[in-house]
Amino acid sequence: MALRGNLRDFTITQLLNLINLAQKTGTLVIDGPSEQAHVSFRQGKLAYAKVGSEDNSLAAVLHKANKLNVNQYRAIAERSGQMTDKELGLLLINAGYVSQEDILLNLQGYFTDVIRRLFAWVEGFFRFENEMLPPDDRINVRLDLENLIIEGSRQLREWEELQDEIPSLDMALKFTDRPMTNLNLSIEEWRVVKYIDPKNTMKQIASAAKLTDMEIRRIVYGLIQAGLVEMVRPLSPHAAPQINPRMFPTQDREEQKTLINKLIGRIQKL
């Protein structure tokens, strides 16, 4: 079934979040304002990206990063078609021009840059193709999406959107099971992170960290999008239980259970 829609309703950041959480493999195809982008993932990690007809070959990426000079780039480009990126990578490593780490870091940098450019796309149709993988001859990377998601979330500026995402600051936050490693958080984000506890409401965190409603919402939104925290009802000794007396016409626990069982029986017979 379809994972498709319009960027107007579902942003690049939200798509990255979904792909990350669902650990999806496949290619996100986006028809943007003037060009098409392909971004591939393996098990929820960024593997490859291409936008429009831009040359994203290894030679072009290394040339842009000043790892290859113009003459080297031209010589390689002339022989393109005879050599895959993987073969070229091996040749360059064996010839001592670059290291394997150089290649991977530069490709990661290029693919990340493509994603950053996509953050600016607010209009366009997207679809996720489960079967579509990057071309065989291209080198894939394996890049966690969390930092990109946090970066993309920082760009959400609209008050109304943030209020939709986080309608009540009376909710608390708790960490998910995802490990918080290699995260590029800002000082404000760390200030929020240190107060995260199911006992603290977002309102209390904002007050302790001296943040406005808008600031706390923006930071929390980024952390939620990256799958690092989730909203929960605040834990307190006086917290309302899930089952409260106002739900039932009777306060007797056994009668309440009988009532629910009667409802179940009736609905089964409908």
Binding site: L3, D164, S168, D170, E230, M247, I267
Partner: protein
């Protein structure tokens, strides 16, 4: 006569009125009005402005009321009133309209903040070819693994019954665990 109530909420045109209609023993008392906004009219002609109201009589002593909330945000002043004293709530989402997922998340969080009652999420129109897969809907709505997300076709009585039953099972489980 004892009465209890459940609330069916969700974004505009998610299928709430149809959901209640499928199981209510009375014609749903719908407070629908012709839509004036052209963008909303392209989705459907009439919408709920106050609430929908359905009824399931259990026996001569007990009645279940189903209340459907208006979908548009400008009527959200009704939500808190409707949620007062509910047994639990159902969030309906149209699986074919990802543009409504953000609003569904917002409605869900708003209701969770009103009352800590059990809830389930029903992914409507799962029979359509352009419906998002359940697991994608789960991630898009940021539902944790414990939250019940159920496939649903609001016009299908058996599936609507199943959604109601799952909510009741959750209430029972919560009663047992909070002893």
């Amino acid at each position: 006569m004892q009465t209890v109530k459940m609330v069916v909420t969700g974004p505009f045109s998610a299928g709430k009125t149809q959901f209640i209609q499928s199981v209510s023993e009375i014609d749903v008392v719908a407070t629908e009005r012709k839509i004036s906004s052209s963008s909303e009219r392209s989705v459907k002609d009439a919408t709920t402005v106050a609430m929908d109201f359905g009824r399931i009589t259990v026996d001569e002593d007990l009645v279940l009321y189903l209340f459907g909330t208006p979908g548009q945000k400008r009527f959200d002043f009704m939500w808190e009133i409707l949620s007062e004293g509910m047994l639990g709530f159902i969030v309906m989402v149209d699986s074919t309209r990802p543009e409504t997922f953000r609003e569904a998340r917002s409605i869900l969080e708003t209701f969770r903040a009103y009352a800590p009652t059990p809830f389930v999420v029903a992914a409507n129109k799962q029979d359509k070819s352009d419906a998002w897969e359940l697991e994608d809907v789960r991630h898009a709505l940021r539902l944790d693994a414990k939250t019940k997300l159920l496939p649903c076709i609001a016009t299908n009585k058996a599936q609507v019954k199943q959604v109601l039953l799952e909510l009741l099972y959750s209430i029972l489980a919560e009663m047992d665990s909070s002893r």
